[in-house]
């Protein structure tokens, strides 16, 4: 493997470094229209009408578009299709799009938006999980405000709890988290001939956008083309939401038959786009005297916001993972995704898992404390190993490096030296150390298996350069680089000659979303399938040129072909092979289509092989707390990850470092606030507080490789995992330093001192 396993430079690094990469706002088209969105100022209300007259009279305004003018169907296709492109009849959250103002300039569109008068009769909103599930709550969705619910039942947890030696019961709460990607949402829709529409934009899931634009316009899929532009971050925030933005621009472009540009300001991006779901987790865990878990009862609620969007799938992942990576024969997990009059929540790195991981990993720490067991030791006792059975009775049959991550992280962090009970600590400045262990089902799993396939089109060009169109996107995570490494080695091509291009729905069939840490595994496998078809043709050409009777006698590695018997002998370069390939008129293209390994799920009991493989990690956080002010510094985080195989170790470390910081923000400061009427109060970076480099701890990433036999070169997927368990590791470290247990994120100094009310 000449390049797999090596820290090859990123394909996109130099252009980004030099400021040459073009993001959507850098694009322009002649005759372009500018669009701005008029949003609901109320969390809930009856929409009686929209008075456009004043806005339409303003010079430079081309029109004001409302729900009645949507050419196709006024609903964003996703799981339940319940979210409209533009509000109709009701407004259901503060910031919901009601009308689109179209003008010749951005400034005019902005100014005219203020003149659009919305006639809304406010209704009393439902603003939280506890409120939404009350019997007496106003019904804003169905007859119980529940979008979806799941049940995972293994053994008989209720019975087993009765005979447990120790029973622990606690509630935990987690807040919203905003993705805060550098590039806000934005698209340009360009109408073409014969009713066609091309949409360019920043996004994670071009095929979702494809569905949405076709539906908004009432067009066929072959009339709509989606081209992803260089994307400045997604983290899940550009999974479902760009569908809505693209729909808006495409509606305008079609109605006026002119290109339409719609770029969000930061404030409207925060107010309107999806977030991590707030969570409420009630845990009851039974153990024996040695700390072995014997029964688990878990109730998990998420606040889905005003529309279902991705809530049913987010909830499913969280439900399956709710106990954490611990063996237990008697598990009962119930979950509910509830409706409120707030911004619809969706995907964010971890996808419903960080909430339950905070609860579960805090609970493990509480159990360890009560039973007087070292928190690392209690994990050794309970953690998954090869042969373990999950909460869905799936047997972990291979590629389980969890124990190795636990041992390596605790050794590197010097856990045994640093850990002592909180009561042994004293002084104003107190150090503490905390641990968390995490497992994560790679890919869409049984809940989304119908979408879990991906295509690749690979072409060897005449000059020997290799063009790969794939079904997943580059959004800053390094996909184009890692996938080019896989393609290069699979084909035997030199890395420099392989290019993986940004996604375009006209190049590859629907390959599902770029989510769930699936890209390296899925697209990597489809590239290998394409390479597998092309390689014999290259070897055939090489055999001819080297005078070998059969292709089995020829090797092709790193762009050089040679006789296996004479590795130091004559070599044919990749460009020459390509030239001959064309001269022989052999087909220089191949298509790879990879279907995910099987998974299964029983609707009643939640039992089955929920995901085809899991990734694992251990985080150890160290903190120093000022006992007088409650302020603290996270001084170091050691994270060991098993991702099967690190295709590009530097990219892996980058993912660990970035994800760990996002997890630290979630743990320590990030929070969305609303007023009593449900209006979002802090939709700006001055008030939505994120960590800066000044807050960054020492980060110590460790790579652990337990290969997966179905993965490309053994790789699983792990991009989300670095964020997921950071919050409980920090919360546990805070407890270890102070003796104060924080069960409601974020961990603010006010809470540590009990002065948060």
């Amino acid at each position: 493997m000449p390049v797999v396993g090596k820290s090859m430079p990123r394909k996109d690094a130099l252009d980004k470094l030099r400021g040459l990469s073009r993001y959507i706002d850098d694009y322009n088209f002649s005759d372009i229209l500018h669009v701005t969105t008029v949003r609901s100022p109320h969390a809930y209300g009856r929409l009686n009408g929209v008075d456009k007259s004043a806005a339409e009279k303003m010079a430079g305004v081309v029109g004001v578009i409302t729900a009645d003018q949507v050419p196709g169907k006024n609903s964003v296709p996703l799981v339940f299709d319940d979210e409209p492109f533009l509000a109709q009849g009701y407004v259901r959250f503060h910031g919901e799009p009601v009308a689109l103002v179209v003008a010749e300039s951005y400034e005019v569109a902005q100014a005219a938006a203020a003149l659009v008068k919305l006639d809304i009769e406010p209704l009393k909103p439902v603003l939280g999980i506890r409120e939404s599930i009350e019997e007496s709550a106003p019904k804003i969705y169905g007859n119980d405000n529940v979008f979806s619910r799941y049940n995972v039942e293994k053994g008989n947890a209720e019975e087993a709890m009765k005979s447990a030696a120790h029973v622990f019961e606690q509630e935990y709460e987690t807040p919203y988290q905003e993705h805060a990607y550098l590039e806000t949402n934005g698209v340009i829709a360009v109408p073409g001939n014969e009713g066609t529409m091309t949409v360019y934009g920043t996004m994670q899931c071009p095929f979702y956008v494809h569905d949405a634009v076709a539906q908004a316009l009432g067009r066929e899929r072959n009339q709509v083309k989606i081209v992803q532009t260089t994307t400045g971050g997604g983290f899940g925030g550009k999974e479902d939401f760009p569908s809505l933005v693209a729909g808006h621009a495409a509606i305008v472009a079609q109605l006026f038959n002119r290109p339409a540009k719609l770029i969000y300001k930061r404030e409207e991006d925060i107010i309107a786009s999806s977030k991590r779901h707030p969570g409420l987790i009630k845990m009851k865990i039974g153990t024996d005297d040695k700390g072995k878990i014997t029964a688990a009862l878990i109730d998990y609620y998420v606040d889905g916001g005003a529309y279902a969007t991705l809530t049913p799938i987010v909830l499913w992942r969280g439900t399956v993972h709710a106990l954490g990576p611990y063996e237990c024969d008697h598990v009962h997990i119930k979950s509910w995704g509830v409706a409120t009059n707030k911004v619809p929540c969706g995907a964010y790195r971890g996808f419903g898992s960080p909430q339950v991981i905070f609860a579960g990993e805090s609970m493990m720490d509480e159990i360890a404390t009560e039973l007087n067991i070292d928190p690392v030791e209690i994990r050794r006792i309970n953690c998954y190993k090869v042969g373990s059975s999950t909460a869905t009775s799936q047997i972990i049959d291979q590629s389980c490096g969890l124990m190795e991550t636990l041992e390596k992280a605790s050794e590197k962090a010097d856990w045994a030296e640093k850990w002592q009970r909180p009561e042994q600590r004293s002084g104003v400045m107190r150090k503490g150390v905390g641990v968390s262990t995490v497992y994560y089902g790679v890919g869409l799993g049984a809940g989304g298996k119908h979408l879990d396939r991906v295509g690749t089109s690979m072409t060897i060009m005449k000059d020997g350069s290799v063009h790969c169109a794939i079904g997943n996107v580059e959004m800053g995570q390094g996909a184009r680089t890692v996938l080019a490494q896989i393609a290069a080695d699979a084909l035997g091509a030199p890395y420099e000659l392989v290019n993986v291009v940004e996604a375009d729905t006209s190049l590859v069939p629907d390959s599902g979303p770029t989510v769930a840490s699936r890209t390296t595994f899925m697209s990597g496998n489809s590239l290998m399938l394409a390479a597998e078809q092309l390689r014999p043709r290259l070897l055939q050409v090489a055999a001819d040129l080297l005078g070998a009777p059969v292709i089995d006698e020829v090797e092709l590695v790193d762009g050089k072909a040679f006789l296996k018997s004479q590795p130091e002998g004559k070599q044919i370069g990749f460009r020459e092979l390509a030239e001959k390939l064309y001269a022989y008129r052999l087909m220089p293209s191949a298509f790879g289509w990879f279907i995910a390994p099987d998974s299964s799920y029983d609707k009643e009991t939640g039992q089955g092989n929920a995901y085809f493989v899991y990734s694992y990690c251990t985080n150890i956080a160290e903190v120093e707390v000022d006992m007088e002010t409650g302020e603290y510094r996270v001084t170091r985080i050691t994270s060991a990850h098993d991702m099967g195989k690190a295709i590009n170790p530097q990219q892996v470390e980058g993912q660990i470092e970035g994800g760990t910081l996002q997890g630290m923000g979630y743990a320590t400061m990030e929070e969305i606030r609303h007023d009593a009427d449900g209006r979002m109060l802090n939709n700006a970076f001055a008030t939505y507080i994120l960590p800066t480099t000044e807050d960054t701890p020492e980060l110590d990433p460790i790579i652990v490789e337990h290969a997966y036999d179905r993965g490309p070169y053994g790789a699983k997927g792990f991009g989300e995992v670095p964020l997921m368990g950071v919050a409980p590791a920090i919360a546990n470290a805070i407890y270890n330093a102070t003796g104060v247990r924080i069960r409601r994120l974020p961990i603010k100094p006010e809470k540590i001192l009990g002065l948060d009310k």
């Binding site: 007088e628 002010t629 606030r673 507080i689 960590p691 006010e750 002065l755």
Partner: protein
């Protein structure tokens, strides 16, 4: 915003005249103003008068027994100035905690004061240094002691056509401390901030002021008097002074913090400041 007139005057007099017009505002570093404009807080704004770079505003100079800090001095300029560091350490420290490095390169002390935020970091420091605000207008100059300058959040005694020319501080060596608590380590608006300055002219003088605990920065006279009347700065004295400021603080709960936390932290910060000055 595109219809805002931008005026670049060449003299203070021209600047004052331009600012006589209704809905014209002075801009220097712009680190508060631009954000407020973008947030739609000045819907009727007609013009900006750029006073940055007007020569008399950008210097720190001594004048007989006073130091005059030009209102256009940036936070970094103040934080790094040797005279300020030696004579008015509370102010140097306060200036060095504002925003982040890039903001400190553009934000000015005049802007920080004129913006009149109860959380403005240099304001408590200027309170403790008994600064006079030097104001220039179309009809001449006047001075106001800083403790009398603020009316409410964002509101001051500046009249139309007036700008802050500078701050006049007695050339008197002080020792001082500035402490703040924010939501993160940089780019943080204070949850609470506290300045303490002390000097000895035969007897010990103390000045204490804190921000983000009332609609305007609060001077803590009771604690000052208590410290000045105390024999020595021992632990008991410090603890009592901390109790007094905690009582003096009249904070509210908002997005950044809570009333209870701020009240308690007033005491903690004063204790720490005094311990550092002991």
């Amino acid at each position: 915003m595109s219809n805002v007139e931008f005026i670049k005057p060449t003299s203070l007099q021209d600047a004052c005249e331009a600012l006589m017009k209704p809905d014209y505002l002075a801009i220097a570093g712009g680190s508060d103003l631009i954000v407020k404009m973008r947030n739609g807080m000045y819907p009727n704004l007609k013009g900006l008068v750029d006073i940055s770079g007007l020569p008399p505003l950008n210097t720190i100079r001594t004048d007989e027994n006073a130091v005059i800090i030009g209102s256009g001095c940036t936070m970094n300029q103040i934080a790094k100035d040797q005279l300020i560091k030696d004579y008015f350490p509370a102010l140097a420290k306060a200036a060095s905690t504002v925003g982040a490095l890039q903001i400190r390169n553009s934000a000015t002390i005049g802007g920080n004061v004129a913006n009149a935020s109860p959380a403005g970091d240099t304001i408590p420091a200027l309170f403790t240094l008994v600064a006079d605000i030097m104001i220039i207008g179309c009809n001449g100059r006047r001075q106001i002691p800083i403790v009398e300058f603020f009316l409410s959040p964002g509101k001051t005694k500046l009249a139309p056509g007036e700008i802050i020319e500078g701050f006049k501080l007695l050339l008197r060596k002080t020792r001082g401390e500035f402490l703040k608590l924010g939501e993160r380590r940089a780019h943080a608006i204070s949850k609470i901030n506290m300045a303490v300055s002390t000097w000895n002219d035969g007897k010990n003088h103390y000045r204490i002021a804190m921000g983000s605990v009332a609609p305007t920065v609060l001077r803590c006279r009771e604690a000052e008097e208590y410290l000045e009347s105390s024999e020595q700065l021992d632990d008991n004295t410090i603890a009592r002074a901390a109790e007094i400021v905690s009582e003096t603080a009249k904070p509210i709960s908002d997005l950044r913090s809570t009333k209870a936390y701020r009240k308690q932290m007033a005491g903690v910060l004063l204790k720490r400041a005094l311990q550092n000055l002991r």
